[in-house]
């Protein structure tokens, strides 16, 4: 069950990525997502958590059960106070990576989820919000 008070996980160590994955798997499964969607959501969470580790050093993930027009869904927020993304558009293109990575994290997550929003301010930090709706 989703408890309001502990719907946040710190991301500081590489091992926190595992914690994020486990937590997201549990929450998504509890909300009623099937295995394929759970895997899509957990994979996305893993990408965004690793981005926080790689580019910001530390941050948090928050999760919410969301409702809209008879639909239920999951919303995950990945927030950090890192360096920010200078060119969000470029960073969202497949293959763009500032550290020799595959550059598939952001564009791939967009495909895996139903909605994705990136807010970033250079020097301030980055917040990525992703959503997935339960198929009726």
């Amino acid at each position: 069950m989703i408890e309001k008070q502990d719907h946040e996980i710190p991301i500081r160590l590489e091992s926190d990525i595992i914690t994020v994955r486990k937590q997201v798997r549990t929450v998504a499964t509890d909300l009623g997502f099937g295995l394929t969607d759970v895997t899509r959501i957990v994979t996305s969470a893993s990408e965004l958590a690793r981005n926080i580790m790689s580019y910001a050093g530390a941050g948090v993930m928050r999760w919410f059960a969301i409702e809209s027009e008879h639909r239920t869904g999951i919303e995950l927020t990945f927030a950090d106070n890192g360096p920010g993304i200078i060119d969000i558009e470029a960073a969202s293109e497949p293959g763009y990576s500032s550290n020799g990575g595959l550059g598939m994290g952001l564009p791939g997550t967009k495909r895996l989820m139903d909605e994705m929003e990136i807010q970033s301010e250079v020097g301030e930090g980055t917040t990525v919000i992703i959503k997935k709706w339960l198929k009726k």
């Binding site: 160590l13 994955r21 394929t36 759970v38 895997t39 899509r40 994979t43 595959l102 495909r111 895996l112």
Partner: protein, 125 residues
């Protein structure tokens, strides 16, 4: 930091490595080293990476797998990835990842068949 142990099993001249369900980054990065050392030490001609219990394959892991495969190939051995789950295959492709030209097999058994036949094929009598 946990370092889930990785089992490296030798069957004739093929090494089999079973990847744990939730390998952390350290495990994943150690894996490469362990595999390459084991291939050298055992003079293995093939490597089977059993990923049948793996529940998430993110881009970090995918990169490690495809790089390892290339390193193994440079050392003269062949890699077969065995047992990817349907849900993992879906998320991997949708994420936009490929495993390069890596050979794949439905199960560890079949992976051994592939390596066995390939080496037979390469050493005709």
């Amino acid at each position: 930091m946990t370092n889930e142990g990785i089992a490296v099993i030798k069957v004739r001249d093929v090494l089999m490595v079973v990847i744990p369900p939730e390998p952390d980054d350290e495990t994943v990065s150690n894996l490469q080293n362990q595999i390459l050392r084991a291939i050298e030490k055992n003079e293995a001609s093939g490597l089977v990476l059993d990923i049948s219990t793996v529940e998430v394959l993110d881009s970090y892991f995918a990169r490690m797998v495809s790089e390892t495969t290339k390193m193994v190939a440079l050392m003269g051995a062949r890699t077969v990835i065995a047992g990817m789950r349907p849900s993992v295959a879906i998320a991997t492709i949708e994420l936009g990842l490929t495993l390069g030209n890596t050979l794949t097999a439905l199960s560890v058994d079949r992976a051994f068949d592939i390596l066995h036949n390939a080496s037979n094929g390469m050493k005709p009598r």
